[in-house]
């Protein structure tokens, strides 16, 4: 049995303060502190830089500019359009220009104050609407389509047009971007990095230093949160500390100060999505056209892949016979926006959910009913706008169960009753679905490696390509290895991710960490079991020649190795390992996995990008104070599909945590830049992620039972990203409450996030429209 809610493998270390993060690593007294000098301007020419005074300051060991980079001045992960240090032009506030290594943080700060940089201002583009006007595209315009949306819209009974703005979101990982580099002999360098992608971090370090990849080791024990923010942008501090380490030949650590981290790094992409939807009197949708516009920031980073996933999720959970999606990513003079849990999916789905919500209000029907009639079908109407069949569709099962368990109908009535008798407080309720495609949409990335070592005492060290950022990947890996080897989980240790153990890995991203690495580990374990079975069958046969044992009958169970047909052939797992070793057979194996049967044509936007889909649904009820714009999350019910859960405790934690992170994006997490492109919300003082007081007063999370997934390790499913989008129920419940101010007769102006400002201004607007 794999499924068990064993605690996180680091839980005891977490609660006793023993878990080591980058800033906690003990280093000798040679350690230098790295500091990044960044641009205060959104777009400017660098006219001159004077480093002379800073270099002379006692305790300063290096001040580096772009010219001091021995390799290439480049750290773009996909497209090489991102310089490591700005040379003659800065293109956003927060862009790195210079690096300082000093004996203390105080000295580094003092050195920065001695640096003179002269700028010549250039015209910046500071928001998406301006970028659209100026057609400042980052990449080619993409389209995906099925049917003929234009023709279908012409004959549709009703057509609604509109747009939705979704805001940026700061990752707010508790551990800011960090890296410690330690020089080795000759060109060697070891980077202890808080990165989701050690192999890419290794590659970027080798490129900026101009050395071979086999000189660079990147190790990641754990991250203090990442959420996509360390998929590519964890590379930055790694490259910078590597440059300083190389220049000084001393250990160098960069651990960004919170405000600097918020100012310098990218966020979730803001989107402006325009739509046109056709439907009939029942609310059955016949056609939708979406124009998705994404603010990519000043460089490409992952914007094009994120745009692609947004387009692939423009359908949310609905079968739309005629669909046309256009996607455009724009370049602005803001920090390059990057991966964030959901990776474009949330923005794409938010627009579709907003459309359905609006259709329901227009037709004066319950939005839950409109959703139901438009869900993908089981045997028909089950092909997406990019040609993939929605197999093992759980939408209907989940909907039916959740409508009952959440008492949706009764509560809808109670909400309406409350609203008719209260002027200043309004309640709202909403149900929203999640269907999320699992796989990297860049298909070759769907691969993983592992290295499993068994030692002679029967303990096991598992190395794999994934990184632990709190999601419980290592715990699940332990459980998978233990189940496959038939031994107690306490015998297994999962090592820090290390590029010298498992090379050429993909990022731990796309929710696929367990799917990919778990399978690679299983592959390694299978190889080892085959070897062990051969040795032990021979050994058993030698001991009792009259009862020969065959390798194919050897089983691994309950810490023993035995012959399933001849149970007297039995030995404790730990006792067998010295025998295998004595027989000159290796107890170390590399495993590998690639996701089979996926592939699609990016140019035509057609095929099977995903291995499978994850499903979930949420009903949320809120109370809005119409005079202050405050809302209270009264009750939230979630039913989520994780297949056969490997660890229900960890999975529920992912679901609840993902939902609350989504609620933050949908409600209080607002990001603003001023007219100079400076970030206004650069610390938790003004950037508000959910606190303990913001979770639902009544919070019920259930995992869908009896829903094994044939397409992933031990019939499980990915978790991680999909639950974030459960938060749309809360967002639209707020809108439902706002709409109640005008008795649902008018479509409220609404945005994402629905801050108390958005809520109050929307209510003011409704009041005016009611009067007018």
């Amino acid at each position: 049995m794999t499924s068990s809610s064993i605690p996180h493998d680091s839980a005891i270390k977490h609660v006793s303060g023993e878990s080591v993060y980058i800033d906690d690593i003990q280093v000798n007294s040679q350690l230098l502190i790295g500091r990044v000098v960044y641009s205060p301007h959104a777009h400017a020419k660098i006219k001159s830089i004077d480093l002379s005074a800073a270099k002379k300051l006692k305790g300063v060991h290096a001040v580096l500019c772009s010219k001091d980079i021995p390799g290439i001045n480049q750290m773009g992960p996909v497209v090489h359009d991102e310089v490591c240090l700005a040379a003659d032009e800065v293109i956003c506030v927060g862009q790195a220009i210079l690096l300082i290594a000093a004996e203390s943080n105080e000295i580094a700060i003092a050195a920065e104050k001695l640096i003179q940089i002269e700028y010549g201002q250039l015209e910046p583009i500071l928001n998406l609407r301006t970028a659209i006007e100026k057609n400042s595209l980052l990449g080619p315009v993409r389209t995906m389509q099925r049917g003929d949306a234009d023709a279908a819209l012409k004959i549709a009974v009703h057509v609604l047009k509109g747009e939705l703005e979704t805001g940026a979101q700061e990752h707010w990982y508790l551990e800011t971007q960090s890296c410690l580099c330690i020089p080795g002999e000759h060109q060697e360098i070891t980077a202890y990095s808080s990165t989701q992608h050690p192999s890419e971090t290794q590659a970027i370090i080798s490129e900026v230093l101009g050395i071979a990849k086999n000189e660079v080791v990147v190790e990641t024990r754990r991250m203090g949160g990442a959420f996509g923010g360390k998929e590519t942008q964890g590379n930055w501090v790694a490259a910078w500390s590597a440059l300083l380490c190389n220049a000084t030949k001393r250990p160098v650590k960069i651990h960004l100060f919170r405000d600097d981290d918020q100012i310098m790094t990218g966020k979730r992409h803001p989107y402006l999505i325009r739509y046109e939807a056709g439907f009939d009197d029942e609310g059955k949708i016949s056609a939708v056209k979406f124009e998705q516009n994404a603010d990519g920031g000043c460089a490409t980073d992952l914007s094009l892949a994120i745009l692609e996933r947004a387009m692939l999720h423009a359908d949310s959970s609905y079968y739309i016979p005629n669909m046309h999606v256009t996607g455009k990513a724009y370049k602005t003079n803001l920090p390059s926006n990057t991966a964030f849990r959901g990776f474009g999916g949330p923005q794409g789905m938010a627009a579709m959910e907003a459309v359905v919500d609006r259709i329901a209000r227009f037709l004066k029907k319950d939005a839950a009913d409109i959703r139901k009639i438009n869900f993908y079908g089981i045997d028909e109407n089950n092909i997406t706008h990019y040609g993939q069949t929605v197999e093992l569709n759980r939408l209907h099962t989940i909907y039916d169960q959740l409508m009952i368990s959440s008492e949706y109908r009764e509560r809808r009535k109670a909400v309406n009753k409350f609203n008719s008798s209260n002027e200043f407080y309004k309640k709202g309720i909403a149900l929203t679905p999640v269907k999320f495609g699992i796989s990297f949409t860049t298909s070759f990335l769907n691969q993983a490696g592992a290295l499993v070592n068994i030692y002679k005492d029967g303990t096991i060290l598992v190395n794999h390509g994934g990184t632990e950022m709190g999601q419980g990947l290592n715990t699940k890996i332990m459980q998978i290895a233990a189940a496959e080897l038939g031994i107690n989980v306490s015998k297994i240790k999962v090592n820090a991710a290390n590029t010298s153990k498992v090379p050429n890995t993909s990022a731990t991203a796309a929710s696929a960490g367990t799917d990919l690495n778990g399978m690679a580990v299983k592959n390694a374990v299978d190889i080892l079991k085959t070897r062990i079975a051969e040795v032990m069958a021979a050994e058993f046969s030698k001991q009792r020649p009259e009862k020969p044992s065959l390798p194919e009958n050897i089983i691994f169970e309950n810490d023993y190795i035995s012959d399933k047909l001849q149970p007297y052939h039995k030995i404790a797992f730990a006792d067998a390992m010295p025998i295998v070793n004595f027989n000159q057979v290796s107890l170390s194996a590399a495993g590998f996995y690639r996701t089979p049967n996926i592939g699609w044509d990016k140019l035509t936007g057609w095929g099977k990008p995903f291995n499978y889909y994850s499903f979930g649904m949420c009903v949320s009820e809120v109370l809005v104070d119409t005079l202050t714009g405050f809302h209270k999350n009264l009750r939230t019910d979630i039913l989520h599909d994780v297949g056969d859960s490997i660890n229900p405790g960890i999975d529920i934690g992912q679901v609840e945590g993902g939902y609350i992170q989504g609620v933050g994006w949908c409600t209080t997490e607002e990001i603003k830049w001023n007219d100079k492109g400076q970030l206004l919300n650069h610390s938790p003082d003004t950037y508000k992620i959910p606190s303990v007081q913001d979770i639902p007063s009544d919070f019920r999370t259930t995992l869908l039972q009896n829903a094994p997934n044939p397409n992933a390790v031990r019939k499980s499913k990915a978790v991680a990203e999909p639950p974030l989008m459960l938060a749309f129920a809360t967002w639209l419940a707020i809108k439902d409450a706002v709409s109640a101010v005008a008795d649902h007769q008018h479509e409220p102006q609404f945005k994402l996030p629905a801050t108390n400002e958005v809520i109050l201004l929307s209510i003011e607007d409704l009041k005016k429209r009611m009067k007018g």
Partner: protein
Amino acid sequence: MQQTISFVLDGKVQTIDFNGQYTPTTTVLNYLRSSPVHKGVKEGCAEGDCGACTVVIGELDGENKIKYKAIDSCLVFLPMIHGSQLITVENLSQKKGDEETLHPVQEAMVSGNGSQCGYCTPGIVMSLFSLYKNENDPAKESIEDALTGNLCRCTGYKPIIEAAAKACVNKGFDKFTQCEKQIVELLLQIKNQSTPLEIINEKQKYYQPKTIKEALELRKKIPDSVLVNGATDVALRVTKKHERLEEIIDLSAVEELKKCIKTESFIEFGAGINLEDVKKLVEKELPALFETLVVFGSRQIRALATLGGNVGSGSPIGDTLPVLMAYNAEIKLQSSAGERKVNMNNYILGYRKTERRPDEIITSVIIPKPSSKTIVKFYKISKRKDLDISTVSAGFSLTLNNKTVESISLAYGGMAAVTKLALKAEQYLTGKFWDRNNVEKAMELVAAEFTPISDARSSAEFRSIAAKNLLLKFWTETKQ
């Protein structure tokens, strides 16, 4: 005069002389993290907004028992823990031979999946430890209040709330109860040897007087010095702006400032009483002040911050200012020349400018108890309800005489460079019926009276609407 500080850490008295790597404005967080055995405490924001740096301070109460409170170690200068016990996450578990027994709050966090990435966890564990020591079987509201100052980005908090409920049932009994006697002895030993601190090196002077008299003499000598008590505001100048504070007078050791006098007609709060204690003192008698403090910072912040500090800063978004104006409070100022009282409504002169002269200190805040005809209310609008700075706040006071407004005071924060009364609306309403029609007219006067700004927190338009609406809200809650 004493140049060194002492406190108990890891069961031993630690003494710091400030001649080496530490300065008097080194924070407790940075001190701990400089040690190889106290890396559990984390910096998440260096401004008291995330709680990753939470540690617990044990202080002797009047009966020589230890009182435990969670604080944000990023906001506390080392001299402020002189004479206290400092408890970190590494201190909670108990080692017996090879066996390590987790503290009940740690155990509940492990078994209940209370940690994911683990970075916020040490701080959360310390907040739970403080709750464990102070409350048995706490209500959900109290658990949430104890955790408001700890941000977690992974879990969604539910398992942490459940861990708290599960663990806090042993009436606070743990290994700290068992060894309390020894710790008390160590703390008394420090206390008995201690004289007022005067830490002077070539760059900084830090004074920690023990009496008002000593404080005033220092103030006269160095009127430009920075006055701190909890330092929750001033510390940011060090942790975020990297300023070197050259001369500091720390009032946190002045016991006279921690007295509370209750009479029939007023309550006088010593300026040095921390806001968590003020909150406990006023729940029944001054409910509007209580409501203010419920949404003021977090427990960790309130354990340090003082009424004197909040008034003293004179910030336009200081949360207690509007409500003190509504209560018609008086600020007692003292200098070596004597003392005087200034009404709160005359106290604020401009942006962070107050009536206090450089040689004076705030010694107390006197709040008259409202008559039975008077209702005082506090409202705060912020992006997030808790642990947020107000976008708009309001302290309202209304005295009705047979449905007619006898007097009304409408103090607003966040609407101007200073906390300010909506005088025209007050004038309009005085003598009129307290009905919706009149209130709606007064709302327009409120809007016309202020020209708020747009900033990181909200737009000017939102502030104007919110300010108007708060008056309507006040009416809905007080109409007869």
